[in-house]
């Protein structure tokens, strides 16, 4: 069953630059997909359209049955609650502890304190940071900060986790630790789409790979076929 379906998607920015054109794509529930390509090929634009940071100029983007391109600004939060997003720069609240950063994603929905506590502890356990709940982001390494960001992205139990170069700022061994965490999350049923520049990671993980070039789909490698 398709979780994501893109039909004839085109995105032209106000500056006149066309970032995505004639893109048709579908991603099934539970898949782990890498999106690769050279700088400026449209990878970031593609994932920004998935969580409706950007709107397509034409075409349809269906995520979990919702046409996200047609969502009004005031309703965007509805789709965002079903999607977790992880960034290269972690985007953590510097003045909040690890626990508060993760709990933040649950508190805004009015979830009871006890439930928040058990969910946060569970998810921090999953990313291996249970012992750092009282630390502030500045006291953590890059890899640890990224694991906090992942914990925050998945604590709501999203169907889809979008990762925009999550290992971009990390050394190879820390990057592989992050990939292991993501693999665990994928095993629990969450669909993962990850943009990366690291061919080593892509080869190591051996999953489906979508290659973009100048905003078009250049190649779509099935799981285990990218070499």
């Amino acid at each position: 069953m398709d979780l994501i379906r893109l039909v004839n998607v085109k995105k032209t920015y106000k500056t006149g630059v066309t970032a995505i054109q004639d893109l048709n794509l579908s991603i099934k529930k539970g898949e782990f997909v890498f999106i690769i390509g050279s700088t400026g090929c449209g990878k970031s634009t593609l994932i920004k359209m998935l969580y409706r940071e950007e709107k397509p100029t034409s075409g349809q983007i269906i995520v979990g049955g919702v046409n996200v391109g047609r969502l009004r600004n005031g309703k965007v939060y509805k789709i965002r609650r079903k999607i977790g997003v992880v960034f290269q720069d972690y985007k953590l609240l510097p003045k909040s502890t690890v626990y508060e950063n993760v709990a933040f994603a649950l508190e805004i929905f009015g979830i009871p304190k006890e439930e928040i506590h058990s969910k946060v502890i569970k998810v921090l356990e999953l990313v291996g940071l249970k012992h750092k709940i009282k630390s502030y982001p500045a006291q953590l390494s890059g890899g640890e900060q990224q694991r906090v960001a992942i914990a925050r992205a998945i604590v709501n139990g999203p169907k889809l986790l979008i990762c925009d170069e999550p290992t971009g700022n990390l050394d190879p061994s820390t990057s592989m630790e992050i990939m292991k965490v993501l693999e665990e999350i994928n095993k629990l049923g969450t669909t993962i789409i990850m943009v990366t520049h690291s061919i080593d990671i892509v080869k190591e993980m051996n999953r489906r790979v979508i290659v973009l070039d100048s905003g078009r789909l250049l190649k779509d490698y099935e799981e285990g076929t990218y070499r």
Binding site: Y51, E53, N73, G74, V76, Y77, K78, R80, R81, K82, I83, V85, K91, L93, K95, F104, A105, E107, I108, F109, G110, I111, P112, K113, R152, A153, N156
Partner: protein, 299 residues
């Protein structure tokens, strides 16, 4: 239950926001404090000017001089007629003997002249002293009284009263305009300072949006934070208004320079002014936050 939890979280986050961004919060609070002090001074001044003009206006009296040939019955008749004249608030009959007595008591010279006057020789007339409700229509009331048979002359300081009334009107309007203008300037200043405070937290707002917070979810803690900043910023102006005004009132014995210029008694004046300051601080603080966050929600 869920709504209460969300409200509780919003209040807690607002407090956290104020204290975790303390230097910027302090900047906002200082700005609110300074502008509210200016507003407080202008409110106190304008209310006192208004009070003073009202007291002066109330003091203006129409004096109706009566024919000295009238008997008591005819004077009673005039009294009835004055009582039904439009705009008359109250009136008092003062007989020629009362006036003579007052004048003799007030000066030795008057006494030496007047003590030898017989009742027939006394040129002073019986009078009615009339106060009006609306000083702007004093002229009409005076003319109506003049028409009453037995009234020989009506005086109320014609010309001067009209000038005084129009001068007070101008003063009153200037006071009102300056208070409103100051409140608007305050609103602008405070909302801009809060805007800077909140703009520095753009990252926080963008993260909230990313994790699926609705616009309302994002706005409410910031609006409560604005409310808190406004309330905290109004503390010093309120203390200054209460203690400052009471000490000035006591020092000057309730009057400024002369008994003619009376100050408004501190109670309940200082408390209503304090409430007004708190209200302005809170509303402007909330408005400033709402305006600032709105800018960051247009994604």
């Amino acid at each position: 239950m869920k709504t209460f939890r969300i409200i509780g979280r919003n209040i807690r986050d607002a407090f956290k926001g104020v204290f975790r961004n303390f230097s910027l919060s302090l900047a906002s609070i200082s700005c609110i404090t300074i502008t509210l002090i200016v507003v407080a001074v202008s409110i106190v001044l304008s209310y006192n000017v208004d009070n003073f003009t009202n007291l002066v206006e109330k003091d203006v009296t129409i004096v109706a001089f009566l024919d000295n040939e009238l008997d008591d019955e005819q004077i009673d008749g005039i009294k009835d007629k004055i009582s039904v004249v439009d705009n008359v608030e109250k009136y008092e009959f003062i007989s020629k003997s009362d006036i003579t007595k007052d004048m003799m008591e007030s000066s030795d010279i008057f006494e030496s002249i007047m003590k030898n006057w017989s009742d027939e020789e006394n040129p002073i007339q019986n009078t009615f002293q009339v106060k009006v409700e609306d000083i702007n229509d004093i002229d009409k009331a005076a003319k109506d009284i003049k028409k009453i048979e037995g009234v020989t002359l009506v005086k109320y300081g014609e010309g001067m009263v009209e000038q005084l009334v129009s001068a007070f009107d101008v003063v009153h309007k200037i006071c009102l305009i300056s208070v409103v203008a100051l409140i608007l300037v305050t609103a602008f200043l405070i909302s801009n300072t809060i805007k800077i405070t909140i703009s520095s937290r753009q990252r926080e707002i963008s993260i909230m949006r990313l994790i699926g917070a609705s616009n309302l979810n994002i706005r409410i803690p910031f609006i409560i934070e604005g409310l808190l900043l406004g309330a905290l910023g109004s503390i010093i102006p309120i203390i200054m208004t209460i203690y400052g005004y009471i000490s000035i009132y006591q020092k000057f014995n309730g009057q400024l320079f002369s008994p003619f210029i009376k100050l408004i008694p501190p109670t309940p004046f200082v408390y209503t002014t304090s409430l007004l300051l708190l209200g302005i601080g809170i509303i402007v603080g909330m408005f400033g936050s709402w305006r600032a966050v709105r800018k960051h929600l247009k994604i």
